[in-house]
Symmetry: C2
Subunit: 240 residues, 2 copies
C-alpha cells in the first residue's frame, strides 16, 4: 500500500514535517498535489459533503480508507507504524506533547509574516509583521528553542535524542525548525545557536541520516521560498 499525502505542491510548509517522517521511514508515498490533477483532488476531498471525516485543511494523509489530518496527528499515526515513536505509553504521550509544542512554534513563525490575517497578503500587513517578528525574535524563538535544548539536556537517556535513546519523529521536526529558522532569520538564528549546542548537533545528525540526506538532495525536497511558513524578508530582520 502506498500512502497518499495531500499538501500544497509548491512549499515545504507544514507538510514538510510529514514528508520527513515518510522519508525517514522509507515509506512508499505519493505527494498527490504535485502530480497532474492532484491539487484539484485535494480540494474535492476537503469539500466533500459526504465524507465522514472531512479535513479542515491540508496536510492530510490517506492510508487505505483512513484520512488523517493535522500534522501532529499524522505523526502520531505514522510514528507507531514505522518505529518512529517511543514504544511505551508514557514516551508516546511525551513525544506527542513535544510535537504539539512544535505546532505552536510553527504557527508563531508563520505569524511573523501574517500576524493579522491569512485573508490578506503579506504586503498588506507589513507594519504589523515587523512588530510581530521583533517580538518573536526577542521573546518567543529563544523561549521555544531554549526549551527544546533543555529537553535534550534533561533527557535521562542522553542528549542525542528528544525522547529516549532512539530517533523519534520529534527529532525530525527539530531538524526542520532549525533549517527553517536559518532560512527565515539567519542573523538572529546564528546568535541563538550559540546557546543551542545540543539542538544544532541533533539537526546535524538528522541531516546525515542516509534516507534524509538522499531526500534533501532530491527534487522531492522543495526549496524554501516566500510562500511557505518560514520566509525570508529583509525588512523583518532586526536592525544591527
Amino acid at each position: 500500500m502506498r500512502y497518499e499525502l495531500f499538501y500544497w505542491p509548491t512549499i515545504q510548509g507544514r507538510g514538510e514535517f510529514v514528508r520527513l517522517a515518510l522519508e525517514e521511514a522509507g515509506a512508499a508515498y505519493v505527494d498527490v498535489a504535485r502530480r497532474a490533477g492532484g491539487e484539484a483532488r485535494m480540494f474535492r476531498m476537503i469539500a466533500d459533503k459526504k465524507a465522514a471525516n472531512p479535513p479542515f485543511a491540508p496536510p492530510f494523509l490517506k492510508s487505505g480508507r483512513m484520512v488523517i489530518a493535522q500534522v501532529a496527528n499524522i505523526l502520531l499515526y505514522l510514528g507507531d507504524r514505522h518505529g518512529l515513536a517511543p514504544r511505551d505509553a508514557a514516551g508516546r504521550f511525551w513525544a506527542h506533547q513535544l510535537q504539539l509544542t512544535v505546532t505552536d512554534f510553527v504557527l508563531e513563525a508563520h505569524n511573523t509574516h501574517h500576524p493579522i490575517s491569512n485573508a490578506l497578503w503579506y504586503r498588506d500587513q507589513k507594519p504589523e509583521a515587523k512588530k510581530y517578528a521583533a517580538s518573536f525574535l526577542k521573546y518567543r524563538a529563544p523561549k521555544y528553542l531554549g526549551y527544546f535544548e533543555r529537553v535534550l539536556a534533561q533527557n535521562p537517556a542522553g542528549d542525542r535524542c528528544m525522547v529516549g535513546r532512539r530517533l523519534t519523529y520529534p527529532d525530525l521536526s527539530m531538524f526542520q525548525i532549525v533549517e527553517g529558522m536559518r532560512y527565515a532569520f539567519p542573523g538572529p538564528m546564528a546568535q541563538l545557536e550559540k546557546k543551542l549546542p545540543r539542538l544544532v548537533a541533533l539537526h546535524d545528525r538528522v541531516r546525515e541520516r542516509p534516507r534524509i540526506a538522499a531526500y534533501l538532495a532530491s527534487k522531492r525536497r522543495i526549496p524554501f521560498n516566500e510562500d511557505g511558513i518560514f520566509r525570508h524578508y529583509k525588512e523583518l530582520q532586526p536592525k544591527r
Copy 2:
C-alpha cells in the same frame, strides 16, 4: 488516585477544556493552582532542571508519576481512561484531529486581543487587535464553526455527536467554544448561530448533562473575564 491539574487559577482559558473532561468523567482532581501555594508549585515544575518531561506551559496534568501537557494531549490521555474517546483506532484519530482543530481555533480567538505579542498588554496592541478581530469574525470564525457544523451533519452515526453516537471529548470542547464566542462576540455569534443549528443543539445537550450542569453551577467554574482566551471588549465588536 487524584489527578492534579495545573493551570492559571483565575481564568477558564485553555485549562477549561481539561476541566470539562474531568468533570464529565466524574474524576477526582485537584485544581492545584487555586489552592494556597499551588501556583508556586506550578512554576517550580515548569522550571525544574531535573524533570525528564518538563512542560512548556500550563495546562498540565499530573497522573501518578506522569506529567502530561498540551490540552489535546491531555484529552487524548483522559479520553481513553474515562470512556470519553471512541473505542476504535480510526475514531480515536478522528476525535483527536477535531480537538487539534479546536486548538487552532482557540489560538485565533486568543489572537483577537493579542495579535502582536503575549509580551505586550492588550492596550498596547489595540489597533492591530481591531484589524485581527474584524478578519477573525468575517472569515475565520465562520469557517471553523461552519466546519464543526458540517462535521455533525456528515457524521454517519447521526448529528447529535461529533464522533460516533456517544459523547466524546470534542463534544465538550464544542460546548466551550460556543460559550466562549457568545461571551466574547455576542452580536456576531448570534448571527453565526443561525447557520449552526446542530452545533447549538449539541451545546445545549452538553450543558444539561448532570455532571456538567452541576459543575457550571458550582464555584469550580470560573466566570469568563478579560484575562482569559475569550474576552469581551466593546471596541472589538463590529460596528453596526
